[in-house]
Symmetry: none
Subunit: 194 residues, 4 copies
C-alpha cells in the first residue's frame, strides 16, 4: 500500500487540529473533537504530540512558516519599493483569502497559553517589523521615498496589511488582492490629497 497517497497520521492530526483550533480557539477546542476530525482515536494524538499545548504550538509554527513561504519573497530586494509593497500586500491578501480560519490564529490569537510560544510569536512580529523597517531605510537611502520615521511608516504599512483580516475572514468580503494592493500602494505612495 502506498503510504504517500494517504495523509500521514501526523499530518491528518495537524490538519484536524488546524481546523478545530482555528474555529474554536485553543481553549474551546477539545482533544476528542480533533481526534474525531482526524478520523482517529483520542489516544493516538498523544502518540504524535505530547500535549494539547504542544500540538497547538506545532500547528502555529507550521502555519506561520506556511505564511512566510506563501509570500515567496525571493528576489524582492531588487524591485522598487512600490512593487515590493504591492507584492507583499497581494501575497498577504491572497493568504487571508486562502486561509481564512488559519489566518486568525496566525495574526490575531494573542491569548496563547505557553509563555514560550508567546515569546516566539512576539519575536516573529518584531522580526517582521524589522524587515519592513529595513526595506524602508533602503528606499529612503535610494531616494525612492522621502525621509520619514521608518518605524512609524512600518506600523502604517503592516497595520494596513492586518486590517484586511476581519473583512475577509469574518465578513466574507470579496476582495481582489491584485487591485486592492494596487490601490493601497497608490495611497501610501501618493497620499490622499486632491
Amino acid at each position: 500500500m502506498d503510504k504517500s497517497h494517504r495523509k500521514s497520521k501526523k499530518e491528518s492530526i495537524i490538519a484536524a487540529g488546524l481546523q478545530v483550533f482555528s474555529q474554536k480557539g485553543f481553549h474551546d477546542a477539545r482533544m476528542e473533537e480533533i481526534a474525531v476530525a482526524a478520523g482517529i482515536g483520542k489516544g493516538t494524538i498523544y502518540e504524535y504530540f505530547s500535549s494539547k499545548s504542544q500540538l497547538f504550538q506545532e500547528i502555529m509554527s507550521i502555519s506561520i512558516n506556511s505564511y512566510y513561504e506563501s509570500l515567496d519573497i525571493k528576489n524582492i530586494n531588487e524591485l522598487p519599493f512600490k512593487e515590493r509593497i504591492q507584492i507583499l500586500l497581494t501575497g498577504h491578501l491572497q493568504y487571508y483569502i486562502e486561509n481564512k480560519d488559519l489566518s486568525r490564529m496566525v495574526f490575531w490569537d494573542v491569548e496563547i497559553m505557553d509563555e514560550e510560544l508567546k515569546e516566539w510569536s512576539n519575536k516573529l512580529r518584531k522580526d517582521k517589523q524589522l524587515l519592513m523597517t529595513e526595506i524602508i531605510n533602503q528606499s529612503i537611502a535610494n531616494g525612492e521615498i522621502r525621509p520619514l520615521n521608518p518605524r512609524l511608516l512600518a506600523y502604517l504599512i503592516m497595520g494596513t496589511f492586518t486590517s484586511f483580516w476581519a473583512p475577509i475572514a469574518i465578513d466574507a468580503e470579496i476582495i481582489d488582492p491584485e487591485t486592492t494592493a494596487e490601490i493601497i500602494t497608490d495611497i501610501i505612495l501618493n497620499g490622499i490629497q486632491p
Copy 2:
C-alpha cells in the same frame, strides 16, 4: 442601605474583573480570583452578574464605551479631515498608553466565548468602519481629499491605528501620541514620495 453602596459593589466587581480578565484573558481568569480582587465573596458576583460570560460581556461593553468616550469626538465633524484623523489617532494612542492590558481585550481578543458577544463585537467593528467610511466620503465630497475607494482607505487608517497596540502594550515602546499622530497623518495625507 443606600444605592451608592450597592453601586460601589457592582463597580468593584467590574474593576476587579477588568483587571483579572485583561491580565489573564477570559479563559484563564477565575471567578474566585475576581471575587478576591473585588474584596467580596465568590457568590456575590452572581448577585450582580448571571455568569462569567455575562460579566465579561458587560466589562467589554463598558470598556469599549470608555474607549469611545475617551476619543471625545463630539464636534469632530466640523473639523477638517486632517485634524479629525489626527485627533482620533492621538486619542487612540493615548488610550493604548493608559489602558495597556485593557486594550488587548478591546481590540484583539477575538477568541471570545459567546456567539452573541462575538456578533456584538463584530457589529462594533463594522460600525467603526462605517463611521470612518462616512468621514471619508464627506471629505471626498468636500474636496478635502481626492476621490478614492473609501472602504480601502478606511482599512488603511484603522489598521494603522491598531498596529500601535503591540509596540505599546507588549514591547512597552514609549510613544508621544501627539507627535506620532502628526507624522502618521502627514504620511496619509501626502504619501511617501520624495
Copy 3:
C-alpha cells in the same frame, strides 16, 4: 444545629478514605468511591485535601499517630522489662484487633507513592527500632536481661509484634491479647529449651 454532634466534613472524608484505602490500597482506591463513602460530592474532597496523594499521606499520618497513642506508654519506663514488653505487645495486638483494615496500611503498605511519605515512614520505623534498642540497653544495664546484641533482640521483638497482623487481619484468628502477650514474653525471657 450542633455541629459537634455531626462528624466534621474533613473527618468524614478521612474516615471514608481510611476505609477505602485500607480495603483497596492506594492505587485501586478511587476518589469518587471515597466521596460516596463520605456521603459527599467528588469535588468536596479537594476543598480539604489538595490531591489523592495528600489525602493518603494525611490519613497515614493520623493512623500511625493513633497507633502510638493507643499504646499509651506514658510511665512505662518505670516498669520492669518483662512488663514493658508485655504491655507493648498487648497494646499492639489490641490495635490489630480493633483496626484490622487500618493496620495493614500502617504496618505493611510499603508501596507508598510519595518519596517524602516513604522517608517519613522509614524514619518512624527506625525511631521505633531505636526506642526498643534503648529499652533493651537500659535493661541490660539494669541487669534485668543478659548482655546481648540489642539491635538483634529489637528485631526479634518487633518482628514478633508484626507477625500477628496477618493471622488477625486476614485469617480472622481470635487471639486474646493479654494471654498471648504473656506467652510470647515468657518465651522471649526464658527461651524454649526444656
Copy 4:
C-alpha cells in the same frame, strides 16, 4: 526455530518483569518498560502472558519458589531444632541480601491486584506457618524444646525472620547471615534472662 530460542524470550520477559516490578511495584510498572528492559516489542509480552496481572503472578510464583529452593531444606528434618532454625534463618537472610528488591515483592507486597493471587499468597503464608508449626510440634515431641503453644512460637520465629527485611533492603545494613542467625537462635533457645 528451536525451543531454546522461545524459552529464552519468555525468560527474558520474566527477568525484565522481575526487575521492573520489584523496583516500581505492580502499579507503577509499565508494560512498555518491561518490554524495553527485555529488549522486545510491547506486543510480544502478550504472546507469552495473557495480562500484566498474569505476568506478575507468574513472576511472584517463580520468585517464591526460588526462595524456597534457595533455602535448600532437603534433609533438614534430620537435624536438631537449633540447627534447623539457624539454617533457615541464615538462608532467609542470605536471600534478603541477594535479592533486596525482589524480597520486597515476595514478603511485603500485600497490595496485590487479583483476588486469586491474594489467596494464593495467603495460602503460601499459611503453609509456611504450618510447616513451622509442624517442626515445632516435632521438636516438642522430641523433647528438644519445652511444651508451649506452637502457633505462637511459629509467629515469633517467622516474625523475627521477616523483621530483617527493612534494615537490609531499605537501610542497607550490613549483616553477616551466619553470625546473626546464631545469635538469634541462641536468644530463642535460651531466652534473655541473665
